[in-house]
């Protein structure tokens, strides 16, 4: 509707002011009427008394006195007959009688334009009656009118001041709006100067925080993308290279070797793209983690069965001790955790190796451990295994691309869980997950 907040504010101000004033006006008018008119009543008796005094002194005619007061706030009228008087003001005989000697104020049925009863002052002088009454002009110079004028003036001045005062809100809002537009366009470096402590100040503070977060995320994302494209380039170079060699190759053993390498690198690329999609999905999931209650021990069994051909081909012995556990979390993502951990254990175990998997509940926590007695890792490696793209000794990892454990850590973070590793090179590796 109305586009400018200034205009809105001015209109609101005007309406409030006006409404306030009119109401005050009406209330004041109705409650102070008596007093107001009371003040006028004094003036009326004064005028009446003076008129009587002057008239009875002689020397001035009725008309003269009437003319004297004709341009003022109070008019004086002489009535020669009671009939006229009664007609004009609808007075009773008793009332007329009371005005015989001294001026009497009566609130009579004489009404003004607004239907209000007005006081008149009436006194008998000789055979005539002198009546003092308020003229329209008098009414006009009433305080009520003054008040009204004051109101209008203060309204105008107030509006002007309001216009200036509004800036206190409108200015920062405009700034915020412009800055938000910049963020929408992709400029996350914008910050708004903030020296306020009120709600607007809080909003600006939060805006700056938000801009900072977005800038940070943007940087992470850019780094991630360049890391990934790097990770893709290496296997692709191998594949391209060895494929070319294949064409000219006459030697069977060499040919098979090249083919093996190509197959291996292709598998690595598959795993990589799968992991990237997963990682991406996890980052998005971060906003609203869908949780459900499910049997954790059964899930782990499913993971183990999924890998069956891998571990049975290596004739690996499994020792399982899985306590019946119900857990509430994101089923799909946690599946991925066990999958990656088990996958690693199998990968780094030798033929006929042993893998131990334990799931226990302790107090309100769930503890999962997986131990393999394979190659193990150095202290250095232990510190870094959860980093993205870290694969430890490259010669050992044939299919790995270093994302598996960073994904695991990420998922566990989302569930407020932790993961620790203990390992001795050449002996064993034990991973402990606390949920």
């Amino acid at each position: 509707m109305i586009k400018k907040i200034y205009i809105k504010l001015i209109l609101i101000f005007t309406v409030i002011f006006f409404a306030g004033n009119v109401t005050a006006f009406v209330i004041a008018y109705n409650t102070t009427e008596k007093n107001l008119l009371g003040g006028l009543a004094d003036m009326l008796s004064g005028v009446t008394a003076d008129s009587k005094a002057v008239y009875e002194q002689g020397g001035s005619k009725a008309e003269t006195i009437e003319k004297l007061y004709s341009s003022g706030m109070i008019a004086v009228k002489f009535y020669k007959t009671t009939a006229e008087l009664k007609k004009a003001y609808d007075l009773t005989d008793e009332e007329l009688l009371s005005a015989e000697n001294k001026p009497v104020i009566m609130v009579v049925r004489a009404v003004d334009k607004h239907g209000k009863k007005l006081p008149i002052c009436i006194v008998k002088s000789g055979k005539q009656y002198i009546v003092a009454v308020i003229t329209p002009k008098g009414l006009l110079l009433d305080i009520r009118v003054l008040t009204f004028r004051v109101s209008v003036l203060s309204l105008l001045i107030g509006s002007l001041l309001m216009l200036i005062a509004s800036r206190i809100i409108v200015k920062p809002v405009r700034k915020l709006s412009a800055a938000t537009e910049k963020i929408a366009k992709g400029d996350f470096n914008i910050r708004i100067h903030n020296n306020r402590r009120d709600e607007i100040g809080q909003l600006i503070k939060n805006f700056n925080i938000m801009a900072g977060e977005l800038a940070g995320m943007e940087m992470l994302r850019n780094n991630f993308i360049s890391d990934i494209s790097h990770e893709f380039k290496t296997p692709l170079t191998s594949i391209e290279g060895y494929t070319k060699l294949l064409r000219d190759c006459k030697n069977d053993t060499e040919r098979n070797e090249y083919i093996d390498i190509i197959t291996e690198e292709t598998k690595r690329l598959s795993a990589l793209s799968g992991n990237i999609l997963l990682l991406n999905r996890i980052e998005n999931e971060n906003i609203a983690l869908a949780k459900s209650a499910f049997r954790l021990d059964e899930q782990i069994r499913q993971v183990i069965l999924f890998h069956e051909n891998k571990w049975s081909n290596k004739q690996i012995e499994l020792q399982l001790d899985l306590e019946e556990t119900v857990y509430e979390g994101n089923e799909q993502l946690l599946y991925q955790v066990w999958l990656n951990l088990f996958d690693n254990a199998v990968k780094f175990s030798g033929t006929k190796g042993l893998i131990e998997v334990r799931l226990k509940k302790k107090d309100s926590k769930t503890i999962f451990t997986i131990t393999d007695y394979g190659s193990g890792m150095t202290q250095e490696e232990q510190k870094r295994i959860f980093e993205k793209f870290f694969t430890g000794d490259r010669s050992r990892s044939t299919e790995g691309n270093g994302l598996g454990l960073s994904i695991v850590k990420r998922i566990l973070d989302m569930h407020s869980g932790t993961i620790e590793v203990i390992s001795r090179p050449g002996e064993f590796t034990k991973l402990t997950v606390n949920l």
Binding site: S270, L277, R295, Q302, L305, E308, L318, Q319
Partner: protein, 224 residues
């Protein structure tokens, strides 16, 4: 030999699958989308369908839906790049029998095709043949040359399940869910009891064995 219908808009993928499957003796039919697949099925019978999901004209989901609605219970293996859990769930809900995500290992594909065909045969004939022994689903009988043994329902179904997927490990939970139902009051020890009874009835002389994998579950194996 069996007819397999390959449905995928990518010709190279179809060619690749054809090479692998033909090696195992299957006959191959081609279609580049769901609609073409239905046309092919008007004129020929397929024992198994391998379908992609993302295809123009009619996608994989639509295809399965049409097939199942028309009463075709041909086994369907979905091979697709769509790998999220909701995608899989939708596939299975619509009636797919198996689901593989690309990139697909072709050897694994062939194995799954074999398993699906075997299951299909078993479920359509309702019998498992193991050397001299026949398990007949309708009569709950295990027929050996010496005798016919009728088993109580649960015991029979348990044995039948294990031997339908020989060498595949099933957890107690899985067996319970399938044979006793999801709402059953039975507990995992019930499965153990039934297995024990089966072992008592079919001792060392039978053609099959039930093996316990500690911590995991059971599997049925066929003795060579």
């Amino acid at each position: 030999m069996a007819n397999i219908l390959l449905v995928d808009d990518n010709e190279k993928i179809r060619k690749l699958m054809e090479i692998y499957l033909k090696r195992d003796g299957y006959n191959i039919l081609h279609a580049e989308n769901g609609k073409a697949a239905l046309d092919v099925l008007d004129a020929a019978i397929a024992d198994l369908i391998i379908a992609d999901i993302m295809m123009p004209e009619m996608d994989g989901y639509e295809l399965i839906r049409s097939l199942r609605n028309a009463g075709f219970d041909t086994p369907v293996l979905m091979v697709t790049a769509r790998d999220t859990f909701p995608d899989k769930k939708m596939g299975f809900d619509l009636g797919a029998d198996d689901y593989m995500t690309k990139p697909v290992d072709m050897d694994e594909l062939v194995l799954r095709v074999k398993a699906l065909l075997r299951r299909s045969k078993i479920s359509s004939e309702k019998q498992i043949l193991l050397g001299n022994i026949i398990l007949d689903y309708d009569s709950l009988e295990v027929r050996t040359p010496e005798e016919n043994i009728e088993l109580p329902k649960k015991e029979f179904y348990l044995l039948y399940k294990l031997l339908s997927y020989p060498k595949k490990i099933f957890t107690r939970q899985e067996l319970m869910d399938e044979i006793w139902g999801l709402d059953s009051e039975a507990d995992e020890r019930t499965v153990d009891v039934h297995i024990r009874r089966l072992r008592e009835k079919f001792g060392a002389s039978s053609e099959f064995d039930i093996i316990t994998i500690r911590g995991l579950g059971y599997k049925g194996v066929i003795r060579a």
